[in-house]
Symmetry: D2
Subunit: 409 residues, 4 copies
């Protein structure tokens, strides 16, 4: 169970780390500040320049699609990728610079694994080239989507087409003008086994009948131009061949898609936790009160120690989950992914909150990236399943050995 | 130690509660939405209409200046006021509707207790009438203001004037176009006893040399038009009679000012905790997942119970602190106020966070007031002294009995 | 809602406090050490001397049966009694010295409220005189007694008698050679409404068929000679008039009995929390490490502050629950009692654990009363209902307002 | 960074696991019950029979001295040993059955690494053969031993001898009649660098002047015949060649000794955490209340999930610390060992406490090993340095990068 950095990873990781710290992070704030200039939902010229220049630079160095199952060179394992994801988490822009951002990586994987050759040509190729962006439409406003069997967007076969009706929200990235395609979880029947009533289908973003109702806000932020969009689909019609895999395969595909994505999210959260701890430590030695550096006051030593212990444990757990994923048994890996999905965002939130507190009023303000980071991390306790659902999964896996024919639901 | 509602309070409290729920809360969202129309730092006509109509209505009913030490009728004790503050905390607008909002109440108290007759005529009267607003300039960007002896804005006597130089930030309410006056904590000498080097001085908001550098943001929100302003004072000159009480009395006045204000903040936080718990409970019975209302899943019963126990304890502690304040011995009341300053915001934050989680993605969004409430509450762990400073005060008070000549600093 | 000390209470409380600190606590350790001399389940002569001398002294001063509903002088309210209970909690012997110990106070109340004149003559009178002791047999080894409807000891009418069969354990005090009578919760029918299948019946401790199987241990301690006994009842026969109130009234009586007892337990726990905090503080200023008193190292200020805040909140909550009880509406008081039942033992345990840690290895040893206190407090999280059941009650009470015809079970 | 089980370990681990579960654990309770028969500080014939039979059996199979740096066969790395330690932690007797118990392993290491050939012949050989036992005398009653520079037992050179005077307590294992030798930390000078004033010296247990004052109790348990002894040394005289390494090398030796020992303790704690979780799960499916298995009530799913997540993280952290130790850089490994020393006992305690609560009153009683396990684990938060000292070490290691010439003490 080697959870360390492989020899082939080390030079790549070091170079990626430097590129992030020296070239990408210095531009994060400027990129974000551009959002307030002009139309929030268009890229400014400067935004495009920043992003495309960085992307080109990354591509040139071969730092592109680390998660690419098609690339010629050595393909990184999930464990290796995890280390890269941690570094990418430290910067707002980095994941996209390397074409490794959510939800596109997950969507690329869906196309790669379950898409037809035509879909791969039309959507996967430009996604892998970073030319278009995509969205994943899962959650709905009217049902408790934490229990995904509740999802209700209607998908009805009509001749050679499927016709979709319903609402989806929190379609992250769908505000981006480059977003060209939606992968949509729909209900294609109401009877039969609970986990075979849903399907996954591909819908071009410009299909008639798609209405952008509004941008959802996260603690008041719309995260433009990326955005978390609320859509209404009214008689949205797509050819039958847009169905992924087959009717009823929605859950099968969703499970395949979500595993790696959750690991990436969690490792990026670890990167943010490291960011926060560095902020916290720097401030604690730089500021004085009552005649001493803050570090030497009250519980500050203890909370620094706790932060370090929490990070190390969470990182090891993520790496173990990644290693389980690399073993190829998704069922066995599932409870490990649920574990990190609960643990990583929570410790990252906690440490970020502590770093905010250590900064006093500056911590909640625009003068550090901490407050923004906190709101971003907070959504991870809900995205891809709220904590409660994942704890439930972990508990049920644990109890399975003790049950004999009893229902743990 | 009567911590209950007095007979004279009950009818007022009931009427205030109804006015808040029936007349004020329904307008909160509209008032807030107006901010994004036009100049964020001016009131729109509709905002003025909403606020002034409600104020007039409150005044007519005698629900005005509950904390007024000059009013003719019965003056409410701190315990009584605390119950009213809890209700006001449930609405964005309520505190100002009753002219009971921070920082104006604290500033009014400063003028009433330490101001000259001229100051009371010029500033206290229109403040009590709700005609102008005021700001309190304490915190500075360049020093750890949690140890207020660090504060460094320079105040030098020059003939019949004082001349002020330095920066202040987080001047809450100073963005409001109606804000007419600043009460400012300044350093008037560098030697002598640590707690007698600072003074409190009155500065009209339009004095030349005052520069509004920017609005501080709270998790991305500028709270316009109220605002938390960052000022630079350059050779700001005021007459010597603007000095409050006497040179060197800054800490004496600050202590007198902050006690009741902290109790009000904390009781408003209790009101918000109640708000959050109501949201949480309603959602937990209204949504279903895995075939059951959320309330019946996992730890939800337990966290509802914990929220209730936390609220009841925090409220009783606030009432006890208020009762201590009413006994008239500020020194004895101080550690109680430090206790609630730590406890009340934390439980309110925790319950609000749980309510957010219970709502799924809706919780972090604009669809409930919870996310906004959370960011507001978060600042209370820093405003008027961060948690760590208050815990330190509580601990030192506790240890005093065990020390014999030992220094607990 | 006066939660303070009344004028009539103050002198009694002061005198009781002094008697406990000056006369009783100094003998606690000697009394306990006697247990290991000779038969653990008999009192040594010295134990009898210590206890009876103190009891006589208390009686002479009128400090006896504070909870006595029959005494001539002023009867203390639950709030007043709560303050006395806090002081009694600080000493191992104090509660019995004042004839205010569990389970006898609860049993006296049962006899007083539900007993016949004959029962009162036979059992209540000597109990109130401190001449005999009693036990309360509720919990059973074979069922989850946290749901008391599970209790299964059989009670069958046979002519003029009832015949009892089954096992009871954790009969606290039943090891005491002075224990003369059991009050026993039994199942008298298997049909009908769930809360009317059980009865409460009086069984003299020397009735044939009662077998003492063993003494239950608490973290290895048998608490001899008091003890927590495990009984088997085999064809235990008592006259029909030993039935309390009426067949089927078991739950009605149990509820009446447990309310005040839980408040007493909780306030005694508060007393123990204060004990622990005093130990913690004394040690933190007396010991040095790394060149400083422990108090000034790491999080020690913070945990002292937290302990003080926890105690104040828990005490106020207990007093509020006591006040609710004094208002006479048991149904309304019930969720308050559930609240303190969860809160008080937990904060007392937590503070005791922190005090142990502050003492280093001495803390877990026989050199302080802290380890013993901890094990005693730990049982309170189970006795009279485990935390989970009380949290459940609090949550259900909270949710009642939000349900319309929905079942919250 | 391979944290997994090596191929050579797997069969040994499997066999050891089976031997523990099938042969050793079934005898734990009987062995412990023997203590109360006759002299607590002598082995009964049955105790000797149980222990020696198991030891002989283990030796025969080659399961002996896993930590032995001299054995001929493959020497297990710290990571490999950690997996074995986890299994041994699950049984009271197992560690000694394999001659892998504290403090003997640590003492063997001291003799092996720092002892003279004569010492190795006299003490190491019989220790490795399991013929004698040893004690490690570090902690003292009169100083805060958490800061080991405080240790004060006097050691004065007198001709060819050293003469020792002072008190030591918590000498674990020193009550055992087989305990033949003490390794003692003494103060050999009062000046010079703080960490060079102490020495480590070997003292035969039967040296005149050694007085056993008493057995220290842990929550009332004396852990006889093993014991935690309190000694007074009065003019205890040993030859100068009993000095280990050299005068002043006490801290150097202590650091070398404690690292692996702490890892073993922590991995045994993980084993106990697994034990506790298994008890918790079994009970949660076996008992019913309110019509459901306990597992399906309230927060029980959530706490099972938390236990699993805590265990996995703590285990990975222990394995990482072991791996750091195996890299050979003790200084680099030190903060990792401090981390697990804080984390592992705490999560094991927490899970054990939860398991106790799940069992109701049975949990605190003699009917499960949980209460005993809890008291044992509780001492680990103090032994080999209290939590606070280890958190301090972790924080100082973290802050080092942020300091420039500043003192973090």
């Amino acid at each position: 169970m080697d959870l360390g950095q492989t020899e082939r990873l080390k030079p790549v990781l070091a170079a990626v780390k430097h590129m992030i710290q020296d070239e990408i992070m210095p531009l994060d704030a400027e990129f974000l500040a551009e959002v307030d200039k002009g139309d929030r939902w268009r890229f400014t010229a400067r935004q495009t320049e920043i992003l495309e220049t960085l992307k080109a630079s990354a591509k040139t160095r071969g730092f592109w699609n680390f998660w690419d199952t098609f690339r010629d060179g050595p393909q990184f394992s999930t464990v290796e990728y995890a280390y890269l994801a941690e570094e990418m988490g430290k910067s707002h822009l980095a994941a996209e610079v390397f074409n490794c951002n959510a939800p596109d990586t997950g969507n690329m994987e869906v196309f790669a694994r379950y898409g037809t050759a035509a879909m791969q040509e039309q959507w996967l190729k430009p996604l892998m080239a970073g030319e278009i962006r995509s969205a994943y439409l899962m959650t709905e406003p009217d049902v408790a989507s934490s229990d995904a069997t509740n999802l209700s967007m209607r998908c009805v076969r009509d001749g050679d087409d499927y016709v979709l009706n319903g609402e989806k929200w929190w379609a992250t990235g769908a505000g981006d003008p480059r977003c060209a395609v939606h992968i949509v979880m729909v209900r294609s029947r109401d009877d039969g086994p609970k986990h075979q009533q849903h399907s996954m289908i591909v819908v071009p973003a410009d299909t008639p009948g798609i209405e952008k109702l509004r941008a959802m806000e996260v603690y008041g932020h719309d995260d433009a131009p990326h955005g978390h969009m609320h859509f209404r689909y009214t008689d949205v019609r797509v050819p039958a061949e847009n169905m992924l895999l087959r009717e009823g395969a929605g859950f099968e595909i969703a499970q395949g898609r979500l595993g790696p994505g959750r690991i990436h999210h969690c490792m990026r959260a670890i990167g943010q936790a490291e960011n926060a701890l560095a902020f916290l430590c720097r401030r604690s030695v730089a500021r004085e009160a009552f005649g001493k550096p803050l570090a030497q006051l009250g519980e500050n030593f203890d909370l620094i120690a706790k932060a370090r212990m929490d990070i190390e444990q969470a990182r090891l757990l993520c790496l173990k989950a990644a290693w389980m994923m690399d073993q190829g048994d998704k069922k066995a890996a599932a409870p490990w992914i649920s574990q990190i999905k609960v643990v990583a965002p929570q410790i990252a939130l906690d440490i970020t909150d502590k770093a905010i507190q250590m900064h006093g009023a500056a911590g909640v303000s625009q003068d550090t990236p901490l407050a923004r980071q906190w709101t971003h991390l907070r959504t991870l306790r809900l995205a891809d399943g709220p904590d409660a659902v994942h704890r439930r999964q972990v508990a049920r896996a644990e109890l399975r050995a003790y049950m004999s024919g009893q229902n743990t639901s």
